[in-house]
Amino acid sequence: MRRSLVLALAAAGLATTVAAQGPTPQSPKAQSPPRAQTQPEARDSLGAGADRQLARRKSWEPTPPPSDPRDFTGIWEVPNPKIDLKNDDGKDPPFTPDEAKSTQRMIDAEKAGAVITDASTQCYPHGVPRLTFAPYPIRFVHAPGKILMLHEVAHNVRIIYLDKTAPPKDTPMSFLGYSVGHWNGDTLVVETTHLNNETRLDMHTSHGPRLKVTESWTKQKTPQGFTDLVDVITVDDPDHFTKSFSVTRKFAYRGDLEAETGAAGVTEYSCEENNRNVPDAAGVVTTEVRAAR
């Protein structure tokens, strides 16, 4: 439904702009200390870029996270976010021919100026792994029998059940699916299924109801001595890909946010307050989005 709407938009040439991240959050103006830059930076191989990255990591991790490799408590954020299904080598995932066409049509539509909307731009939960790619902080919480991922972006909540090996019978399909997890050594392995097909995997690629996402989360020291939480995301969907494939994202520890008062470093993000990306009856997204950019 949504995809056909967007494609119809593209076909009709009703171009406004790309609403990649949904409504912008109302950022508190008086939180202390002010946040470090969280937006993606252009990758450059020059020294200045590397220095900036290093300075940011230093400011993000004034104190190290817990030393226990199986303690993910704290706030983590991907420093170089990419909302796509590619690793650093830039290779496309193994699309089925239909999905390759569908993805390409979306990319072309976006290049032509069409509005690319998806669940997240309309304040629905982002889907998995779409949510994991979002350039916002995530607070990990260990609780009895479960791990919580409290996402700043649009107050998405994921609950990973450690006390189950499979979803209960009659588990409904949902935007974030049902996640069961277990420890494999010091790696938290999370399998998510029952993902409805209202979401995309990234901005352009669709999935079907047979989607299974397996995430392997491991704490790792960087060469500079900082701590990453590395997520190897394996996507398995025989209706959209010829074989399973994996993409890796590294999350940096945001110990600096622990000093923020009022919400323990996860700023309120009310997508609903500022939901301007909802298409009107004609399927057109308001141009306020363009005005705001």
């Binding site: 817990p66 107050h155 909540v157 409904p172 949902s174 609903e272």
Partner: protein, 242 residues
């Protein structure tokens, strides 16, 4: 003597096992929670899913009387009630806006309470809304420099066996209850959660707002444990289109 002691110890241990098996911890295993992150053993166990047994639509003060509204606030309250009667969607929650505090406490949906050493996390089923309450950081200074939020800014501490959460910095777009009870940006809320037996929380909410009420007032609430319940995905989107 020694035998008696051992027997006593064994009896105590057995009693402990029995209590654990029938208590809330039976369904929960702290074993997989990193030791450094667990709340102190002396802290009451609020962890788990809770629900309000009888929904609250219109708040009453603890003495059963109406909240002490100032005249202008009373006029606003009556206006909202008339509007609600004419159109139930005049409730801001109908726009999927966050419910605010304390209203979200009364939402007729379960809440998952997660206890950490340094924080208490309240994850509400309704529209997947959460509050992260630090037990270490102070409350931000209330005032015009604090950007008003839907759920405000919170800080918690333990007062003996009672979890106390103080909140400030609210916008004035939320209602205090389903009947339209108003508040302004000077609202301060204190929530108190006290275990009453293993599976019941006796709660008190205290409300201070000099622009709305003639004096601070309090109201009581009850939460009961919902063992084994898993939060469902609840999604509220205005102009539902998908």
């Amino acid at each position: 003597m020694k035998t008696v002691l051992i027997a006593l110890a064994a009896a105590t241990a057995l009693a402990g096992v029995a209590a654990a098996a029938s208590g809330p911890k039976a369904a929960e295993s702290w074993a997989a929670v990193p030791a450094a992150e667990r709340p102190a053993a002396s802290v009451p166990n609020l962890s788990g899913v809770w629900v309000m047994p009888s929904p609250v639509r219109a708040l009453k003060a603890a003495d059963g009387k109406d909240p002490p509204l100032l005249p202008a606030a009373r006029a606003e309250y009556l206006k909202r009630q008339a509007a609600l009667k004419a159109n139930p969607k005049s409730d801001p929650v109908s726009n999927c806006w966050m419910q605010g505090v304390p209203r979200i406490v009364y939402a007729p949906y379960p809440v998952l309470i997660a206890q950490e050493k340094d924080r208490v996390d309240l994850v509400y089923e309704t529209n997947h809304t959460f509050r992260i309450v630090s037990l270490r950081q102070p409350l931000p200074q209330a005032g015009p420099d604090l950007d008003p939020l839907w759920l405000g800014y919170s800080a918690g501490h333990w007062d003996g066996k009672t979890l106390v959460i103080d909140s400030v910095g609210f916008n004035d777009k939320t209602w205090l209850d389903y009947s339209g009870l108003p508040h302004g940006e000077k609202l301060k809320v204190q929530e108190r959660y006290t275990l009453d037996g293993p599976d019941r929380i006796k709660g008190v909410v205290s409300i201070t707002d000099p622009d709305t009420f003639s004096r601070p007032w309090s109201t009581a609430f009850t939460l009961v444990r919902k063992p084994g319940y898993e939060l469902k995905e609840s999604v509220c989107v205005r102009d539902h289109r998908m």
